[in-house]
């Protein structure tokens, strides 16, 4: 069936081989970049040795790159994020691992006061990336489940990305490392090992600031990012049997946001639901809603709706956390309400 020499079958086979988990894609991006560029170093707690980080993203890195490029840090987020800023000012490209996104607050000054303002104030570029393992839904409690992206979106001088697929996890990390500004890269813990996907072997950088239409549809748009992309996809499949055709926009980058893609979808479907697992109040979705109100008001056939975490610390116990986070059912119900509005 397959002609000799055709790339058809082989590409299918190699595609299968190239299925990586979300976390493998992160490791691969980092490893490839480090092989390419000596200026890239890894800095964080427990990132070195055989251990290679709390989630083993840098397992084996010290063997390959040596201790001088994999800097194991004492528990000093404020100091080592600031030190990464100094290394970046000297022309290196540090990739910082904060063990959990929740602990990023211990280095908050170093990020929002120093690194973020630096280029504006006196022109010193700060090309670092913070990898921040974020999000919950896996009973990790109030201090290992947070989604603090809105704090950083509110900070001029930072870029904020939040990939939802293995391909994007790789592609956005490549772009984040190559960018000349401080980038906070929110990786999604619930997707780490649960999600696999085809990842191009050669590094294809996904540009920062470009959203993606994850599902095309005509009746309603869900704007989302991170793990909620997949909950939204499930909800969309569920309600498609009821004749509702849902479009899903995966933002991928939260700052700078791809307003054009969001607005194009809003104008196309006229009904918008915004979903994220960060708490809803003053969350990233509020900015999306405001954008649509400002720029696409005439296109709307229903009010813009938002689903997000409740305004409580992320609770630990499964029934509580379930009540905290938007679920597939919540999303499906909200979409149904919108289309019948």
């Amino acid at each position: 069936m397959t002609p000799n020499g055709s790339s058809g079958e082989r590409s299918v086979a190699s595609e299968e081989d190239r299925k990586l988990s979300y976390i493998e894609a992160i490791s691969e991006a980092l490893r490839e970049e480090m092989r390419r560029d000596e200026d890239i170093i890894v800095i964080g707690e427990d990132v070195g040795g055989e251990f290679g980080g709390a989630f083993n993203v840098t397992k084996g890195f010290e063997d390959e790159f040596g201790r001088r490029r994999i800097l194991n840090m004492p528990m000093t987020e404020n100091a080592f994020i600031g030190a990464a800023t100094g290394m970046a000012l000297m022309g290196l490209r540090p990739v910082i691992e904060v063990q959990f996104a929740d602990f990023i607050t211990s280095g908050y000054d170093a990020i929002v006061q120093f690194a973020a303002t630096n280029h504006y104030r006196w022109g010193g570029a700060v090309p670092w990336v913070i990898r921040a393992p974020s999000d919950g839904g896996i009973s990790s409690g109030p201090f290992h489940s947070q989604n603090p992206e809105a704090w950083f979106m509110h900070t001029p001088g930072l870029k904020v990305v939040a990939p939802a697929t293995p391909a994007d996890a790789k592609g956005l990390l490549l772009s984040a490392i190559r960018d000349n500004n401080p980038v906070i890269y929110f990786e999604s813990k619930p997707l780490y090992r649960s999600l696999k996907g085809v990842v191009p072997e050669e590094g294809i950088a996904i540009p920062i600031g470009q959203a993606r239409v994850a599902r095309e549809g005509t009746d309603v748009t869900i704007v989302t990012y991170g793990a909620m992309v997949h909950e939204s996809l499930k909800a969309a499949e569920e309600i498609s049997s009821q004749g509702i055709d849902t479009e899903i926009v995966d933002l991928r980058t939260l700052k700078p946001m791809d307003c054009e893609t969001v607005l194009a979808s809003a104008r196309k479907t006229s009904r918008i639901l915004i979903v994220h697992s960060a708490n809803r109040l003053v969350g990233a979705g509020a900015e999306v809603a405001a954008l649509i109100a400002d720029e696409a008001f005439e296109s709307l056939d229903a009010p813009v709706r938002r689903l997000g975490g409740r305004d409580v610390p992320v609770p630990f116990s499964p029934p509580l956390e379930k009540a905290y986070r938007p679920s597939v059912d919540d999303i499906a119900n909200a979409v149904k309400e919108l289309v019948t509005w």
Binding site: I41, N78, A79, A83, G86, M90, L92, H119, R121, K159
Partner: protein
Amino acid sequence: MRSLSDEELIQVYEWMKLTRVLDDRIVSLWKQGRGVGSTFSGRGHEAIAVGASYALGPDDVVAPMHRDLGCYLVRGITPRRILANQLGRATGVTQGRDANLHGIGDLSLGIIGFVSHLPQSMSPALGAAMAFLYREEPRVSMAFVGDGSSSTGLFHEVLNLAAVQRAPFVVVVENNRYAYSTPLHQQMAIDDIADRGQAHGVAAEIVDGNDVEAVHAVTAEAIARARSGGGPSLIECKTMRMHGHAIHDGAEYVPAELLVEWERRDPIAHLEKIFFERDIVEEALIEEIGQKCRRIVDDAVEYAESSSWPDPASLEEGVYAP
């Protein structure tokens, strides 16, 4: 303790004098209502700012603070650029983006500009030292920090990390006895901040911060040690803040006797005394240096006051690096 030749000592004097004349002029401009926003005086800190930074090499990096006017000058920021920055002009180092000595950074001169959040520039300065280690370059990084700032968690994090990394890093603590209105004994229960260095395995020394020869000698030694792989040092320079915290502050909370005592130990007068005692320079040269400094500062005031304001259309420029 002498690490400077007579000739170098005269150069150091020139920098200290320029620092003083510029500092005095800034104070008087603000008192005349010609300033913009607030500003600081580093009067009394000239021996530290100049002495420590004079010991650096051209490829070294330094992160000064708000009392270190002399350091910026020694590294090569001109009085013109400093005053234009203070007056919020387009020709200032930050082009009107940041105030007074904040944000005076210039990587071509090896200066990391500081932020208000003290001592947030310590960690980037340490990072610069870590970059030198990584690249195996024989360069050293220096950070200035106050007594007040030495009580922060970051100060301790940085010293600890510097020691663990054996970074080529020198921390100059300007212990001027006050953090804003708060005297030392309300800040800490120890007598010497140098103890905080020792606690982390950082070589620590105490020096008279008003004696530029001593400051230079100790700093030069620390820099040489750092450069040859001997790790970080902390130098506690004991001095006194001679004006208020910032220009608006009359510092009535400082006992008058303390100021009288430290005025007697003025670092510039001290150096002049050494010149005469050792017969290094004639009075006429001192006079000449003073006049030269005043001419430089007159020119800088003229330049800054006649410089244009930043264009509001540039407001959003430079938030991101290209």
